[in-house]
């Protein structure tokens, strides 16, 4: 299930990225805990945000276990997404995911090729002054940003859904 997201230059990627991490970015996320472990609906399930120079994509997927239907899977994913504008974002989850994202940024910076690519990326979109300031943008995200973003972007009518069934 995919949703279009604004271009990188609009700088709401920290909100989209943190929301994906909270919703389905780790083994503590609701997608994994509720749908994989508790309900046994999916073998794995994940959410992530793909930033784009033009538009980006916010994606969520689950790999169905045997005997479960695509319709069940879609409804369960939709149920988690609906709660992204209400109870799923919490202060504790936000702090954890922000800590992880900040550490990830620091590790990325240790590789010269990553640094060069990032500088090129920012120069290309005309926002070179933002290079190296991602951590501050992550710090500025609060719960109300997350909930508003989810309510605006993760609406059912904005989703594109693919059912994939490999032939046996």
């Amino acid at each position: 299930m995919a949703f279009r997201t604004p271009a990188y230059a609009e700088l709401d990627w920290p909100v989209a990225g943190l929301l994906a991490d909270i919703c389905g970015g780790s083994e503590t996320s609701p997608l994994h805990v509720e749908l994989v472990k508790e309900q046994g609906l999916f073998a794995s399930a994940e959410a992530f945000h793909m930033k784009g120079l033009s538009e980006g994509l916010w994606m969520v997927y689950g790999i169905l276990n045997e005997g479960r239907t695509h319709e069940e899977g879609e409804a369960a994913l939709r149920g988690i997404l609906d709660r992204c504008s209400t109870d799923i974002p919490s202060e504790e989850r936000l702090v954890r995911c922000r800590n992880m994202a900040t550490t990830r940024l620091l590790f990325e910076e240790t590789n010269p090729m990553n640094r060069a690519q990032k500088l090129c990326y920012y120069e290309n979109i005309g926002l070179l002054e933002h290079a190296g300031k991602e951590a501050a943008l992550l710090d500025a995200v609060n719960l109300s940003h997350l909930k508003q973003w989810a309510a605006e972007h993760l609406r059912p009518e904005k989703s594109n859904v693919i059912y994939y069934s490999p032939r046996a």
Partner: protein
């Protein structure tokens, strides 16, 4: 004889020297050696716990992969969610993998949080109970992933090649089947975890931005929590290697119009001193985008999206693999072209120009392998698991540049006889 019209790979720049620090190990505690590579001002660091005995040592690849992945899946007091939430609160990651020659755990965090993350990791590791509920989630996910891979020609061409080339008595010839997951139990996982945790088996690499007090904290934590060792390390498992003539095996896979092709040759007796010369030959054959296989079979004939050859060392001996995925109707032609390229390297001397570009590419590629402080962990790991010292890396660029066209042709003559390779093709055969 030289062939002047060979299409060449892209021009590269000359890499003059390979600069890296020769860091010697110090004691980490409990007789485990530590390599520490400091970095300034990056704010992060990683601890790499390496277990020298990989699947080649223990066998039971499935069990060891499961054990490393499930190491943080629960203790008597803390369920998996608590463990992962604890590490996430610290902004830390702790990942485990099992490979053929080594296994590893990597703990990464901001410098100020690494000691705390390491302490929590060791507590959770020492108390691991491998709960049934987590094991069941793992079984389901791993079996689902294996089932997906089993639907692909690529999976079967590699598996059939290995089953034929090294045989089922060799660690590379043992493959997991879907029913095998049921045999993993928490008790087996606990035993496997105890057996790998032995000072004779362990070495540690720490890379990153740590000051002396932070490093001292990490050592103290290791002294306190790292000593839950098994009494004796497990003896290495003995393996046999299939001994028969190369064959071409085919395996049908439903619902595909593709064929995946593998060429393979095992038990190559190459001394470490000859490795870089062989690496040049492999790169020339199929080790980069400008290679002969890629230029001929992809760029000129358009028969595949990619074709690649690699020289591996999965044990005491080297192994050569060539692989590609093609349309079913092109299978025979691609196999013939791979054989023709091998034969041509045996019969026709490479031009100085083509060889020079391969040498430049390889030198740059090797230098990139030293980019960033964290790359040193993998370099130390390679030296350790193969029993080498720094001279192996020091001499890399000089040895690559010193290779002559005559040496390449001689090596090709000795090692690239197309009839000495096993071939496996799987898919719409």
């Amino acid at each position: 004889m030289m062939k002047p019209d060979r299409k060449l790979g892209p021009q590269g720049k000359t890499i003059d020297a390979l600069h890296f620090e020769h860091v010697n190990p110090t004691g980490f505690g409990h007789a485990v050696p530590l390599w520490f590579f400091p970095a300034r001002d990056c704010g992060v660091a990683r601890i790499y716990l390496y277990y020298k005995g990989g699947i080649a040592h223990h066998g039971e690849g499935l069990l060891h992969r499961a054990m490393h992945q499930l190491m943080l899946s629960g203790t008597a007091d803390s369920p998996a969610e608590t463990i992962h939430a604890t590490l996430e609160s610290l902004g830390a990651t702790a990942d485990g993998t099992a490979d053929l020659l080594y296994c590893q755990h990597t703990i990464g965090a901001r410098s100020s949080k690494l000691a705390d993350a390491f302490r929590r990791f060791l507590e959770f590791r020492n108390g691991a109970v491998f709960p049934d509920s987590e094991l069941e989630v793992y079984r389901t996910a791993a079996a689902s992933e294996l089932k997906s891979r089993m639907a692909t020609p690529r999976y079967w061409s590699y598996r059939k090649l290995m089953e034929q080339m090294v045989g089922s008595g060799h660690f590379q010839g043992q493959f997991t089947n879907l029913e095998d997951y049921a045999a993993i139990t928490p008790a087996l996982l606990r035993t496997a975890a105890e057996e790998v945790w032995n000072p004779a088996n362990l070495f540690v690499v720490i890379c990153g931005d740590l000051n002396e007090p932070q490093l001292a904290d990490i050592r103290a934590i290791w002294q306190e929590h790292g000593a839950a060792f098994a009494a004796t390390p497990r003896d290495p498992k003995s393996w046999t290697h299939a001994a028969h003539q190369p064959v071409h095996v085919e395996h049908a896979v439903a619902n595909t119009n593709q064929v995946s092709i593998y060429f393979g040759k095992s038990e190559l007796d190459i001394p470490d001193s000859g490795y870089y010369k062989m690496l040049v030959l492999n790169t020339l054959l199929g080790g980069f985008f400008g290679s002969r296989l890629m230029q001929n079979i992809r760029e000129q004939k358009g028969l595949t999206y990619g074709i690649h050859s690699s020289l591996l060392k999965p044990g005491p001996h080297y192994q050569w693999l060539v692989s590609s995925d093609v349309k079913a109707e092109n299978k025979a032609l691609v196999i013939e072209e791979i054989k023709r390229e091998m034969q041509e390297l045996r019969e026709v001397s490479v031009s100085a120009d083509e060889l020079g570009k391969v040498q430049q590419y390889l030198c740059g590629n090797i230098k990139m392998g030293f980019d960033g402080i964290f790359s040193m962990a993998a370099r130390v790991r390679e030296l350790q698991v193969h029993g080498r010292d720094y001279s192996f890396m020091d001499s890399a660029l000089q040895e690559i540049r010193a290779v002559s066209p005559e040496e390449i042709q001689s090596l090709a003559y000795n090692f690239l006889d197309p009839n000495s390779f096993y071939i496996a093709s799987a898919g719409a055969v």
